[in-house]
Amino acid sequence: MSDNLARVLSAHELRPDIAERADADARRHIEIVAPSTHARPRIVYALSAVACVGAIVVAQLLLSVGISQGAYEISALRASQVELGRTADSVSEDLIRVSSPQSLAANAEALGMVSNSTPAYLRLSDGAVLGAPASAAGGQAGAASLVPNSLLAEAPVATESAAAVAAAAAAAATTSTASAAAVPVTNGLPSPTTR
């Protein structure tokens, strides 16, 4: 190709008549070919361009429909997230409130529990009793209200019916007699002897 080009260039310089003829040849060549090649691609290109534009428009429409659909979904989810967050807040506040010492003490007392102020320990290794055990006298009964908590104003105190308490006490009595059978303490943790 470069070889050919060089030859044309040299012809131009050395022999203008040949160059002129070559130019004329080129002009005639374009005039003939141009009309036949122009007409057909124009329609194809136009159609494809229009189709492309159409496709883009449709795609964009779909996309924006999708996005705005998503926006509604997000909005709805956000709203339900807020609602759920409020529910979580509400129940965790309730939980913290009822787990306050005032609430626990009042409920324990309502269920008939008393605290024992004389600590005593049973050492497992040799079964020794450390301290001086005594039965509970219920030192601080009714004192829960001395340490106020205005959050608990409306919180109900769990009161079991007297029958339920009695039944529980009876059940406790049976289990304690059952387990009262001596468990030998030898070394370390006590374990029942099995044969």
């Binding site: 996005i67 506040e93 004389t118 340490v147 205005s150």
Partner: protein
Amino acid sequence: MAKTSMSSKRRVAATVAVLVAIIGLFVVRLVDIQVVRADALSADSLGNRSVENTVYGARGEILDANGVVLAGTVMRYDVQLSPKNAKEFTREVDGEDITVTVADAAAEIGAITGQTGAAIEAIIADALADNPESDFAYVSKQVDVDAFRAIYDLEIPWLTFARNPSRVYPNGAVAGNLVGFVSAEGKAQAGLEIGQDACLASDNGTETYERGADGVRLPESTVTTDAAVDGNDVVTTLDSDLQFFVQQALAQQAQSTGAAWGNVIVQEVKTGKLVAVADYPTVDPNDVSLTEPEDRGSRAFVAPYEPGSTFKALTAASVLDAGLATPNSEVIAPYRYLPANGADVNDSSGHGDLRLTLTGVLIDSSNTGMSKFGELLSDQQRYDYMTKFGVGSVTESGFPAEESGTLHPADEWDNQTAYATMFGQGLTTTALQVSSIYQTIANGGVRMPVQLVSGCRAADGTLTEVPSTEGTQVVSASAARDTADMLEMVYQDGWLANTWEIPGYRVAAKTGTAQMPDGEGGYTKGYLVSVSGFAPADDPQYVVSVSLADPVNMNSSAASAPVFQEVMSQVLKKYRAVPSGAAAPDLSGSW
């Protein structure tokens, strides 16, 4: 040809004229929109599309040593209404439209907020009387989530809601004296809330987003202009369960003895950590208004008093440390002692000359006997011991507005003060300082910094501002041991032996009954009665220090002894301090 050119020229002229007219119209409109009404329109459009939202940063929590929340942040809601729009409206119930009058709506709101319907109507009427165009009035501030939801579900068109984060104290008055409280606007006002405000404080942020005509947030339009910063948590050394127990025990005894006020301190011997600091009366930070202003703080930190005889343990430890006496050193303790410097020392009740050992001086709590031991040291030496024990300076607790008490320099003591300071008069200490003195004696003479806050905990769990845990040797270990042994004798043989007995345990304790200054240089008739001690005596774990001011029904330390007994046994039980079973030392009180 000329004709056509004329008509075409006219046509061109007409077209140009029409074009100019149209462009002119556009220009006028453009100027109108872009220049004349620009501000109003753009504000309008922003208002329609763009919404600015406050993002609340949560103020940090105050926690006890086990992570129990003593102070936390919750979201509350302010209910507001538009008085000028408060009219009847229709509500759809089961497919039927029902007209709801203002009175009905007010009654419905009132049933939830605890107001009367009339009160809410009055709010509307008042606002309208003030300004007929009034568009804003509060119905109720800081209602909780449940109430907010219930009111929201009423779908009353003229109600609006605003979020308003608020402080909550789930345990009520438990440690309310220490935690403090914040104002309705969220400003720290007392206690750790204000002392640790730098750690707790949060920063609110803002976010802006755009929304469509139907109120839906446009995707990807959120711009956080200012990020919210949550506060850090303050971790205290307290145990909320024990604190509750101690407050109960104190309140019960204070009420039955008619005490004006009182406090109880429980301190860990080995670390100096405060496990419980109870005050009576005490504040419920959820509703500060229920408590008198002077009862809203912690007197244990801010109310110094003359400690009285509990201070004798310090004098005894100083004399032992200086090597000038032993627990068995002997003195003759008269009822009245007139030292050479002209002072005049009396015992609380008349008695003949007693032949007491140093141990016996503590058991009988003899002022004259203690004077004879105390004078073995120079005033300056005793002053130095006192300052090393922490008397006269604020502790390391970091509690806001903590008092240092008053300890004048030794060269300013007059003759009487020089002796009075040996048995805890002529100087003032806070309850905390007394507790610290006993901690030092219990801990082999090593005073640990008093600790209330273990640090400021960031979201990632790192603890900053951790206080120093370096102790100082105040008296020798043997002097401390001997003092502890003598205090055990006081517990065992003192006049309250039956009242404060904790079966099975070895305890060391000392009572104090001090006259209370009336603030005008004299003394009132009331006494401040106290008991300080530690257990188990052979391996001390906890100091318990009880003070009751002016218990009118029982004006002696017998009033505070039951609280000491109850609290100490609870502490020993709770922390599983097992009695060793070893025999107590046998020191003789007389000779």
